[in-house]
């Protein structure tokens, strides 16, 4: 079982090495095939692992394997160690499966870029890093994968590195994630001190002996990492900017896999979060706030990818609500369906962008439904799934989270409320985008720039989208609230989920959320099906609200003001007032002093023997007196 898991882990790493060593000897297309082929190998190996795990008895579905000692200090030893259990295999299936589809799509999408090889190598590096993250058998290796996905993300965001905005976005993503990595590492220091280990089993076993304060600090540190990686409030501002990367990157990293790592972390370290209930709740609350905040901002975005990016933040908010309330199964289920439909949306948007020669502004699109009918249908599937309309996948997974919230007391109901508002907003901004891009009349820009290939896009780009559309349609039936709970059940050995509401409450929860979603779609239909004055009138009625939304609640400005500016000023101040005058100038002055003293001393050399004799005599006298006094 574990050999297959090792194969799954190292296949993409081998692809990176191959592409790097081959250099210009292979074509860009070949590099893409190597990268996606390696990911397919990972997927097949994962399926084998999954099948082997499935055959085992429920209680024996966990296996660890250590290759060698990675790092050591005295008794503290950390192995290069993977764990194969239901949770890691679940994540491996999502990562390698969706990853394979997206990497295949990227072969078509990047075919015209002259640095295609570098791109495919980075993508394979990402898949390796992400698999390392989900397969790691101890927290240090998990943190290693955690940082490596951040690195791959940085490299891919500023892939088009001549664009100033892309470079800035890459740095921002990396630095925000570095903050999360730092709090993550601090949590690990406490765990090492308290439990002497970093492998999951001993840490969870001994963590119960920690004091409440320490348990809270550990959970806070982990949550800091999770919030940064998953772009939740308040460490979310990097994700929309990350859309500077090529579209398949957005699909793979910034929607389907990496950004959901925070949810995985909470599920994986569930025993630690359960020791700190306040922090566990805090995770859910941050998720709830993010749902609404991101949903509101998405209403006014005009870049097609940014709309989807904000919806990603919002959807991960749902997962945080689930995982934070202890409904791990529901959270992970939504993670999976979201990976399907969000990758689908991004890749369909990629076909649109491709067809419009790189244009991303939805105000210049319009009427594309007639020109790109299949893309329209794919996008429609994704939109229904995102807006949680049955029988599309998003409905079931979102409903599972809502039903779990409805069963979690007062806090649960508050979060349910936020999630329900979010359902309305989601439907509204999703269908706004859909109607503006595909409905209406064909825009002037589209008429001029639209170019179509045989299948609306290269074949390599179309078939992965089609598969994802199918998955978005049927993937939801894996778990149907009230009927069967395949995901909950599967991951139960790792993290046991709370009961969800049943009976009347469950029906109310589902119907209310569906009604709100349909209301959102209806409102979008009224406002955006054709150009109306509605949005403009709303903007004029409350200009401050529009401005707040367009400025994304001023988070960027606040960070600049509170952190970046002070650091920058401190640095300049230190140079001007400490380093330059005190440290650097110190010896410049000494040199001058020595020279000056030399010149003055030179004046003593008069050549007159009498004055020398006098000096010697005076000196001797002073010395003699000094000795006498001293003795």
């Amino acid at each position: 079982m574990t050999p297959a898991a090792w194969v799954a882990l190292f296949a993409p790493a081998a692809a990176v090495v191959m592409i790097a060593l081959a250099g210009h000897r292979i074509t860009g297309r070949a590099a893409g095939v190597i990268a996606s082929g390696a990911t397919l190998v990972s997927f097949v190996a994962t399926v084998v692992t999954f099948a082997l795990l499935l055959r085992r008895h429920e209680e024996e579905r966990s296996d660890a394997s250590t290759l060698f000692t990675w790092l050591s200090a005295g008794d503290f030893r950390v192995g290069f160690e993977i764990v194969v259990d239901p949770l890691s295999v679940f994540m491996m299936l999502v990562v390698s499966g969706v990853g394979f589809l997206i990497l295949s799509y990227a072969v078509g999408y990047m075919a015209t870029d002259d640095e295609e090889r570098r791109y495919h190598a980075y993508k394979a590096l990402f898949v390796f890093s992400m698999l390392l993250l989900v397969q790691a058998g101890n927290l240090l290796l998990l943190l290693a994968g955690w940082g490596m996905v951040g690195l791959s993300s940085y490299l891919l965001i500023n892939f088009w590195h001549r664009r100033r905005s892309a470079v800035g976005a890459g740095k921002k993503a990396f630095i925000m994630n570095a903050v999360g990595d730092a709090t993550f590492a601090l949590a690990l220091f406490i765990l090492i001190q308290q439990t002497g280990a970093l492998s999951f089993a001993p840490v969870f076993g001994r963590a119960e002996l920690m004091s409440d304060t320490l348990a809270t600090l550990v959970a806070l540190g982990l949550l800091g990492g999770a919030v940064a990686k998953s772009a939740q409030v308040p460490l979310h501002t990097w994700l929309p900017d990350a859309m500077e990367g090529p579209t398949p990157v957005s699909a793979l990293i910034h929607a389907a896999t990496m950004v959901t790592a925070g949810v995985y972390l909470i599920a994986r370290t569930a025993p630690l979060f359960e020791l700190a209930p306040e922090v566990h709740d805090l995770a859910a609350v941050l998720g709830g706030v993010t749902i609404v905040l991101a949903g509101l901002i998405a209403l006014v975005q005009t870049d097609i990818k940014r709309v989807i990016a904000y919806s990603t933040m919002s959807q991960i908010g749902y997962m945080f609500v689930g995982a934070g309330l202890g409904a791990y199964g529901a959270g992970l289920f939504h993670l999976m369906t979201h990976a399907f439909f969000k990758a689908l949306l991004f890749m369909a948007a990629g076909i649109v962008i491709h067809a419009l020669a790189g244009e991303q502004d939805i105000r210049r699109m319009g009427g594309l439904g007639r020109e790109l009918p299949w893309t329209y249908r794919f996008m429609l599937v994704g939109a229904f799934a995102l807006a949680a309309v049955p029988p599309f996948a998003g409905f079931f997974s979102k409903d599972a989270i809502l039903a779990s919230a409805a069963n979690s007391g007062t806090l649960g109901w508050i979060l349910w409320g936020l999630a329900a508002v979010g359902a309305f907003l989601t439907a509204l901004y999703t269908f706004r985008m859909l109607f503006v891009v595909f409905g209406r009349d064909v825009s002037a820009y589209a008429r001029e720039h639209l170019h179509r290939e045989r299948f609306e896009g290269p074949l390599a780009m179309v078939w992965p989208v089609a598969i994802l559309a199918v998955l978005s349609l049927v993937g939801g039936f894996l778990q149907v609230p009230g009927l069967w709970h395949a995901v909950d059940h599967w991951i139960e050995p790792v993290a046991e989920s709370i009961e969800e509401a049943s009976g009347g409450t469950a029906v109310f929860s589902a119907v209310a959320a569906l009604a709100l979603a349909l209301a959102g779609i209806a409102l979008a239909w009224m406002l955006y099906r054709r150009p109306t004055y509605g949005p403009e009138r709303a903007r004029r009625a409350a200009p401050w609200a529009a401005r707040t939304l367009e400025q994304k609640f001023f988070f960027d400005e606040a960070y600049d003001l509170a952190l970046y500016e002070p650091a920058s000023h401190t640095a300049s101040g230190l140079y001007r007032f400490v380093e330059a005058p005190l440290v650097l100038a110190s010896l410049g002055d000494i040199g001058a002093t020595v020279r000056g003293a030399g010149r003055r001393l030179a004046a003593v050399q008069t050549g007159v023997v009498r004055s020398y004799a006098l000096a010697v005599a005076v000196g001797l006298a002073v010395l003699a007196i000094a000795f006498v006094i001293a003795s």
Binding site: A20, G23, F68, T69, W70, L71, S72, A73, G74, D75, F76, R118, L140, L143, A144, G145, W146, G147, M148, G150, L151, Y154, L155, N158, H161, R162, R163, R164, V167, G170, K171, F174, I175, A178, V179, D181, A182, T183, A185, L186, L188, F189, I190, I192, Q193, A567, S568, T570, A571, L574, Y575, V578, E579, V583, L584, S586, L587, G588, I590, G591
Partner: protein, 484 residues
């Protein structure tokens, strides 16, 4: 014998290079390169013949020098010194190869001095007698003065004067400390020193090493020296020579002054912690490529000292690993800086940019070394910094918090450097037809980078083979015996 051979080979090589009848770079540099490679080979032999489980002094030689003072020519290798000797050998090879590629003027003198420097550095890492240690420590300075003063940049004289005054002051202080310690203990044999409780001698050593490392606030010589020296000399200076100071703390100060170390930990840690943040901030605003590397080097030395002053397993292993890492990183970065300077009109970051386009080798190497330098998780620098901060965390949460904050700052200044050179529009100082790295440059920087990547895959190669089992215990027993 092996240890003596490791010391003598570069010195002998230097003498032969100086005596060579040919004045060409190819002859003098080529011969020096052969000697450096032979040194590296000798180091591999030493690794193969070292018993890493014992933790005691190996390959040692002792010849009485002044019986009255109990001073002797005594050299030998501990497991941890072996790694630093290897670092010296490798960086020397790359520095000489790079110097040949650049084609320095007066090659016999130049390459002879590089070898001389290597010999003295290996001597510092292997000397087991305080006076001998001092002799080698001083011997390192002579070639450095000349290398910076003669082959340096336009402001080399000011840089040299500063460097000389700082290091001389530090050295004299160390001489006083060594004599006092030797007289107090009745021996100069480092393996039989015993423990001293003298705060003043302790401070003498600490300040002397703080000047050499350097540690804030004794770094006044650093920005100028690192900027003005030839690139490969900066690589040696920041990569290898600075490690002698950290080594001195580890080999002499920690075992010989257990009480002062505990009493004055706050003082040393305080300086190092302030220096870490201070240097990281200055690296963030440094206007030029070498400025960023220089201040990041200062920050890294402060971090290493923090790990050492934790005096526990985690901190010590981390500090040693980071000494090797930083040696490789810093050398690679300075050689890259040299390569960049040769392709541009001045290395001010605001005038650079866009060099990645069409120069994949430069971009790949700079990004790889850069992200390892900022300690991206899974890199060997991450492993080391994790151990260092974990070690100091056990001594107090606050120190680890400062350290964690500084790692975020490290990401900021390193990414600024990478993007400033490689990304966005092509800067006005970049020659449009500047070539990508040539094969020699790729080989030289690549060798360092490959070593770093290999270490990232297996950092335990060093942490498992440095102090037998428990570094804490090794310090307590003054490296007298293994942990078991």
């Amino acid at each position: 014998m092996l240890t003596t051979a490791l010391i003598v080979l570069p010195f002998a090589g230097a003498l032969i290079v100086w005596a060579l009848p040919w004045q060409t770079v190819r002859a003098a540099g080529g011969f020096a390169l052969l000697v450096a490679l032979a040194e590296l080979f000798l180091w591999v032999v030493a690794v193969r013949n070292t018993d890493f489980a014992s933790g005691v002094l190996q390959h040692d030689v002792e010849t009485v020098w002044f019986a009255d003072l109990d001073a002797a020519y005594k050299v030998g290798l501990y497991d941890f010194s072996l790694w630093l000797v290897g670092l010296t050998a490798l960086v020397t090879v790359t520095a000489i190869a790079y110097g040949m590629w650049v084609g320095r003027a007066r090659p016999r003198a130049y390459f002879g001095l590089l070898l001389f420097l290597a010999g003295a550095t290996v001597g510092v890492f292997t000397a087991q007698d305080l006076l001998l240690f001092y002799v080698f420590f001083e011997a390192m300075l002579i070639p450095l003065y000349v290398l910076i003063g003669v082959w340096g940049g336009t402001r080399r004289h000011a840089a040299t004067v500063k460097f000389v005054i700082y290091t001389l002051a530090g050295s004299l202080l160390m001489l006083v400390a060594i004599i006092s310690l030797g007289l107090e203990r009745g021996t100069f044999d480092m393996t039989r020193l015993g423990e001293s409780g003298s705060t003043w001698i302790f401070l003498g050593f600490v300040v002397a090493f703080a000047v050499k490392a350097p540690i804030w606030p004794f770094h006044g010589w650093l920005p100028d020296a690192y900027r003005e020296a030839p690139a490969e000399v900066s690589a040696l200076l920041s990569g290898v020579v600075s490690k002698t100071a950290a080594y001195g703390l580890l080999r002499i100060v920690l075992p010989a002054f257990p009480d002062p170390v505990v009493d004055l930990r706050w003082l040393v840690l305080g300086a190092a912690a302030i220096g870490l943040v201070y240097a990281s901030l200055l690296a963030f605003r440094a206007p030029d490529v070498r400025g960023v590397i220089a201040y990041s080097s200062l920050a890294q030395m402060c971090l290493i000292v923090i790990g050492l002053m934790a005096v526990n397993n985690s901190g010590l292993e981390g500090a040693l690993l980071q000494m090797v890492n930083h040696g490789l990183i810093s050398a690679a970065l300075f050689l890259l800086a040299g390569a960049i300077e040769r392709r541009t009109a001045g290395a001010r970051l605001e005038l650079l940019g866009g060099m990645a386009r069409g120069r994949p080798r430069l971009a790949t190497l700079l990004i790889t070394v850069g992200v390892i330098a900022l300690a991206v998780p899974l890199s060997t620098a991450f492993a080391a910094e994790f151990l260092i901060l974990n070690g100091i965390f056990e001594r107090g949460w606050g120190w680890a918090l400062v350290g964690a904050g500084a790692i975020v700052l490290a990401a900021m200044y390193m990414l600024r450097l990478i993007s400033g050179v490689l990304h966005e529009e092509v800067g006005p100082a970049v020659h449009a037809h500047a070539l990508d790295l040539r094969p020699v440059e790729v080989a030289v920087v690549g060798a360092l980078t490959v070593t770093l990547v290999a270490l990232s895959f297996w950092p335990a190669a060093i942490t498992d083979h440095a102090f037998a089992d428990r570094p804490e215990r090794a310090i307590e027993t003054q490296f007298a015996r293994g942990a078991r």
